[in-house]
Amino acid sequence: MEREASVKKAFSIIGKLLIVIFLFIEIYPIFWIFMSSLKSTQEFNLTASYALPAKLHFDNYVKAWYQGKMNIYFKNSAIVTIVSLFFIILFGTTSAFALTKMRWKLRDKVMKIFLSGIMIPTAVVLIPLYSMYKGANLLNTRLSLILTYIAFGLPLTVFLLRGYLTSLPDDMIEAAIIDGANIYQVFSRIVLPLMKTGIVTVAVIQFYFRWNDLIFSSTFISNTNMKTVQTGLLYFSDMYGNRDWGAIFACISISVLPTLIVYIFLNKMVIEGMTSGAIKG
């Protein structure tokens, strides 16, 4: 019995050790990026790349922000992400409500159309979308990205919000209608406040998907002044990546920072939202 306990203890210690090593492997590269972004150019040549910076060089960030045009890319990404998030939430909540709580004939069919979108690989729509935007003179505009992001954000949003709405009792809606509320009042005063958690969760995961997009932004945008952070980062790295390590590390840090900040504050919601997309899908 005693021996069994000590074997168990040994296993538990080994397990703990392995987890610590694993966590280190998952975290250290990110730390390394931020650390390297503060090094001077000579340090990259003279010291090993795991060495800590001798002095904190914030010039790299100045260089990345202005010469690397991260200021422009950042603004573009922010605008595109925020505007599409707003419409994803607006259209997503209203249509999820009409598709779950309201009664009409084509309801299930329309629901199916939306849900079919979850499985569609982006590769399948890329060529027609490019032709469409080219024909409509929308290439190199923020609108092309916003439209695409809204459309690709909707299926998962409708799907997840439907989950929140079905768990919401009908009695409450019915009581409000008996009290004389019209459908818009029911939606805005009763359903919307109750969906708050769902809406924030959806907004957070959509933020990640849109902020992190590469395939659409690199296809529809070639004008440097319209590039987003991800395409801009890739462009900058092609142009200067080998010469100016400090600046490229600063660019990577700038691209990562918003995603980490959101995660630090809302990690529970992020984890729940991102995994529910997989579990329930």
């Binding site: 392995l18 795991y50 209203t94 159309i113 690989p121 060529i127 890739l234 691209s255 959101v262």
Partner: protein, 293 residues
């Protein structure tokens, strides 16, 4: 009641904007791609209806065949890697950690939220050899394994391995959290009862734990598969498909045919092929997993 809940004007107002955008940006393009796949060339440039010839020519197109092979090799390595390691870590977390479980979960998940491009650029610098050693080559140098120092992204085999390693690194945390969630849901009495009956270690895992988390493992499998078959962003940002075509995926092959060679018709055929594989394998996984029990 019904009058309010089936208010036609409200329904139209609430659903139509979303439906119009979704149908015109996702639904119609899918059909459009399907139609394009029977043409050759691109609109305005020798655009011709050619029937099934794209679907036939595809099999003798070396680049496309290489991309299919590479992509499937990638799937067969990365999907088991992501899920297997996710399972391993979640089991270690479940059985050997008492305190700090939430903290572990929070840290493990971090790579999942990072932009793919940033992660790829980060790994590109880690794998670097010229002009300076990147993190990995420096560490090899530190521990005296100088003979292993090499341009990881400059050689076909190591570039492919480097890509796989990166995409496993990024996703382990995601699957760890999902599987860990399923492990926590296993009723404690069940494990206790099995332990009293003498089950431990491997037996406890195969007889009790695995059947209990089976559904979630299948979900993970589908999710990882649909992610890996679409491989584009991470490979583009890490290696641009190179060296040569060593890391060119099916989606990248489609992209090159469309936007490099101006072959919209043929590229659409490749796109349809990706869609078919995606649907078929997902369907197969779901069918097989239902049949067994």
């Amino acid at each position: 009641m019904d009058r309010v809940l089936s208010d036609k004007k409200a329904i139209i107002l609430m659903v139509l904007p979303a439906l119009i955008i979704f149908v015109s940006v996702v639904f119609i393009p899918v059909i459009w791609t399907f139609v394009y796949s029977f043409y050759s060339g691109m609109p305005g440039l020798k655009f011709q209806f050619t029937g099934f010839s794209n679907y036939i020519n595809m099999w003798s197109n070396e680049q496309t065949m290489d991309a299919i092979k590479m992509n499937w090799k990638y799937i067969l390595i990365v999907t088991p890697g992501q899920i297997g390691l996710g399972l391993l870590v979640s089991l270690m977390m479940y059985f050997s950690i008492k305190k700090y479980k939430t903290l572990c979960r929070t840290i493990v998940f971090i790579p999942t939220v990072l932009p793919t491009v940033a992660v790829a650029q980060m790994f590109a610098k880690m794998y670097e050899m010229v002009p300076n050693y990147g993190l990995i080559n420096s560490l090899l140098n530190l521990v005296g394994l100088d003979q292993w120092i090499q341009p990881f992204l400059g050689q076909p085999n190591t570039a492919f391995a480097a890509l796989c390693a990166m995409d496993v690194w990024t996703a382990i945390g995601f699957y760890t959290v999902i599987i860990y969630g399923a492990l926590v849901d296993i009723p404690n009495e069940l494990l206790e009862a099995a332990r009293i009956d003498g089950a431990s270690g491997v037996k406890l895992f195969t007889k009790i734990v695995l059947p209990m988390i089976r559904t979630i493992m299948i979900t993970c499998l589908v999710f990882s598969f649909t992610g890996t078959i679409k491989l584009y962003e991470s490979a583009t940002a890490l290696t641009k498909g190179g060296p040569g075509f060593a890391t060119t995926s099916m989606t990248m092959n489609m992209y090159q045919n469309a936007f490099l060679y101006d072959e919209y018709g043929y590229a659409s055929t490749v796109a349809i092929l990706i869609l078919i594989q995606c649907l078929l394998v997902t369907f197969l996984i779901n069918m097989l997993s239902r049949e067994k029990y």
